[in-house]
Symmetry: C2
């Protein structure tokens, strides 16, 4: 007796398990594929969400603080905020503009245009005791390379989204957001589509890539050892850059 | 032959379909239950995400603009921003503090403490041509009442989360966030838990309720007619208020 189709979940999330600690030069696509095959997850018709940490590590975006020589601005900020000046130096190198500083928190706009704490530099889960993991140089390109490697190995159609964990103004707690994408439109624009009462919806662009990232974040918690999540039940059309999600400074009320 | 357990999705999302247009006084819990039963979805061991619009409508938080008399401040802002003064008046009544105003956008802090555009007042999907839907007076209480009614009808254990669709600074596109919760801790605090390298994770509070809301948002798009989503595969311990997600103004760098 078959279960009625209506009880099938519309969206399904699968954690990719058993992926070892990634080190610079590792073939991340091969690790992702191997994990999926082991658990009989077909990477077809869905979105693969991969946390920035493993992407950055595979790409060698890792520094040792022992190798960092802090400059005067890093020394000054570190003294004011009681921080490791080498750590501050790394953050400043990744920072295009300091957006806010206070309460020992430094909110940066990165060279990519993301606004987040410490320019996305992460000291936890860096494996090495004094290691720092930086964001990928071009997370869209990272997503595209991973997607290409997976498709070449027989996977797909699929989207690949690189995620990171950001804080928000006004709200406590971190959420996962998309910092790179390939094979999907990160924003689903409903402008001009009528609502259920037949009126035109004016401003209804949904940040689909960010909603997918947040969903995946339910399984990618820092203590879980799950660096990637496969999501089925979402359409993976288009191929937009995550830069589409960066607000034009001209209309940004929170510069 | 049984499918191996490993291929079962860890998190599963089910849209609650066929819920009619809700009007003031409707028994929303009964509609949710009926929809779940029709699709053989057992509301047990999971989280029920319900969009604010149907909660507000059932609670009668609906106004007709024809009944609104705009005051001087609403008249002034409406003239400056080329808006309907009655619409601005409704927004101002729901506003505790104007956070930013510019580019015809008004960002408010609501009386609950949420920071969002137009104090959460919604003119789309309001059914009536000149209707406005306000946020619930106390969304935590709304979630708790719904949860109680569902448990009394035999559902549960479950969490209920009321969601709304908010914009963000710096990033385009809307995401769904939690504005009320019952039967779950909205923030999962990992402070003190060791990371995989054995170091203590210092700041790792995850906004679980917001991640669930964003996941549900993948199915609750404004043109979909899906006002509620059932999510399985998440633990539903605790019973925290969504006020825990509101950042203390003392440490808020974006007042």
């Amino acid at each position: 007796l078959e279960r009625p189709e209506v009880t099938e979940p519309a969206i399904r999330l699968y954690p990719l398990r058993g992926i070892p600690e990634i080190v610079p030069g590792d073939d991340l696509a091969a690790h992702l594929l191997e994990s999926a095959q082991r658990d009989e997850i077909a990477l077809s018709n869905g979105a693969l969400l991969v946390c920035q940490k493993v992407v950055s590590k595979a790409e060698g975006r890792v520094l040792r603080l022992a190798d960092i020589e802090p400059g005067p601005e890093a020394m000054r900020i570190a003294a004011e905020d009681d921080k490791d000046p080498r750590q501050v130096e790394v953050v400043l190198r990744e920072t295009a503009r300091i957006v806010r500083r206070g309460h020992r928190v430094l909110i940066s706009q990165t060279h990519h245009g993301f606004v987040c704490a410490n320019a996305g530099v992460d000291l936890s889960n860096a494996h090495e005791e004094d290691g720092a993991v930086l964001l990928p140089v071009d997370p869209d390109a990272s997503a595209a390379r991973l997607r290409r490697a997976l498709i070449d190995a027989g996977a797909g159609p699929l989207a690949v989204i690189v995620t990171d964990t950001f804080g928000r103004p006004w709200r406590e707690g971190l959420v996962d957001v998309a910092i790179g994408s390939a094979g999907i439109e990160p924003i689903s624009d409903l402008a001009g589509v009528p609502d259920l009462a037949g009126r035109e919806l004016v401003v209804t662009a949904t940040a689909t890539a960010d909603q997918l990232a947040a969903a995946a974040g339910l399984l990618m918690r820092k203590d879980s050892g799950i660096p990637a999540v496969w999501i089925e039940g979402v359409s993976v059309d288009g191929d937009g850059s995550i830069r589409e999600t960066l607000r034009d400074p001209e209309t940004d009320l929170f510069r």
